[in-house]
């Protein structure tokens, strides 16, 4: 139960942090903090908490978006599931490079899912999406991934060790 409350609070906090960073850095510094959290929870606590966080993160994102309700819920949950699959092949404990590779792959998958959903339900320019969504999002997310994971690790060790 403690872990569930902790997960829910973290999702809310990370969602607010995304707002704060957006206000500070504008549209060129918007790392996908919620996706980082979903990946971290998957690595630290397993898929169950990761899916719970993904669903909550998706609900928050979808509530503020004008797109069809469920886009982000589906994308985050699929990413949480695929993280479990990918970590078997890509992730080595205590290897920072492998963790970054995992983040890169999951962020790219997250982008692809959202792009496919947009192509299915509304409209999207693939080239522009790659240029103005994929590249800045992956770069900013990778830039703060290690720092975020370290802070989360400290937090988890303090609370659950």
């Amino acid at each position: 139960m403690r872990k569930i409350i902790f997960t829910a609070l973290l999702v809310y906090l990370f969602f607010l942090m995304e707002f704060f960073l957006f206000n500070m850095g504008g549209r060129w510094f918007m790392p996908n903090l919620l996706l980082l959290l979903v990946i971290y929870l998957n690595l630290a606590f397993g898929i169950r908490y990761s899916i719970f966080a993904a669903a909550l993160a998706g609900i928050f994102k979808d509530s503020f978006s004008t797109e069809i309700f469920g886009f982000n819920i589906f994308a985050f949950i699929l990413c949480a599931y695929l993280t479990t699959v990918l970590k078997r092949y890509l992730h080595y404990v205590a290897s920072r490079r492998s963790r970054l590779l995992l983040v890169f792959c999951v962020a790219a998958i997250h982008f692809t899912i959202l792009l496919c959903l947009r192509l299915m339900f509304s409209r999207a320019d693939v080239l522009h999406s790659v240029q103005f969504v994929l590249v800045p999002e992956i770069l900013t997310t990778l830039a703060i991934a290690s720092f975020t994971f370290n802070q989360l690790k400290k937090c988890v060790l303090r609370l659950f060790a």
Partner: protein, 260 residues
């Protein structure tokens, strides 16, 4: 067999349920979404407040220069207004004579911005006025500088505004000087794109783009932005322009929703 794969089947089921949510247009979604917004609006406002204040301090010099420029402009306009008052009265007399009724003043509602959706895909903002204040879907949202967007979803006390720069937004527009009409829509770059201008249209960088009377939701003559590049090729039957919005979306704190 079922026991061995039980966990995977449950995860698959969760995925399928979330996928089917996309196809179900349940009426409870907006109510639920606005409930979540209500829950988050206060912390978002608290977080945004210091950032806005810091921005104001950092932009002090620019604001002061802008103030000086605007003051000079106001003085010039005041001088012009004296002459124009007579023209307005004459215009009113002539309009009356022609029985031509034009509504120049729109009723509107002032709304505060709660926050902007931090997403690369969309440009959306949440305002603190909803159906209770007379706001309906599709109503135009403007500020002193020009078009901001239009109402996308309405809750009881809050609404979502789809911004001019959102790829899903479009509005009929006119290049002010050569009176060439086209369609302005948002892009992922944070600019707007004006399409369907006729081939050979004499548009140039620096021309101002305004809303056209062909627009169903916007009153005509509202400033959209300024052309920053013109893309014309011999192979395409129309001209495309990139338009920089006149509104600085990151600095908006209040907007006006036009009710009629």
């Amino acid at each position: 067999m079922f026991k061995a794969h039980r966990k995977n089947l449950i995860y698959l089921l969760i995925l399928l349920i979330t996928f089917f949510i996309l196809f179900a247009s349940i009426r409870a979604y907006p109510v639920f979404a606005f409930g979540v917004i209500k829950l988050s609006s206060l912390p978002i406002r608290i977080l945004s407040y210091p950032v806005h204040e810091i921005n104001k301090l950092l932009l002090y010099h620019r604001t002061f220069n802008e103030y000086k420029r605007l003051k000079e402009e106001t003085d010039v306009l005041k001088a012009r207004l004296v002459g124009l008052e007579e023209v307005i009265l004459e215009n009113a007399r002539l309009e009356k004579l022609l029985k031509f009724k034009r509504q120049l003043v729109y009723s509107s509602v002032v709304a505060n911005v709660i926050g902007r959706d931090p997403s690369y895909w969309n440009s959306t903002m949440i305002i603190d006025k909803g159906a209770g204040d007379g706001i309906r879907e599709g109503m135009p949202v403007v500020n002193a500088l020009g078009v901001v967007g239009k109402i996308a979803e309405v809750g009881k006390t809050k609404s979502k505004v789809i911004l001019l720069t959102d790829p899903q937004f479009s509005v009929a527009a006119l290049v002010q000087e050569p009176r060439e009409s086209g369609l302005v829509s948002g892009t992922l770059q944070g600019f707007c794109r004006m399409r369907y201008l006729r081939a050979g249209a004499p548009v140039k960088v620096g021309d101002q783009v305004i809303t056209s009377k062909l627009s169903l939701s916007f009153p005509e003559g509202l400033l959209i932005g300024e052309i920053i590049s013109v893309m014309e090729s011999a192979t395409t039957p129309s001209v495309e322009c990139l338009v920089r919005p006149s509104v600085a979306f990151s600095q908006i704190e209040e907007v006006l929703v036009i009710l009629n």
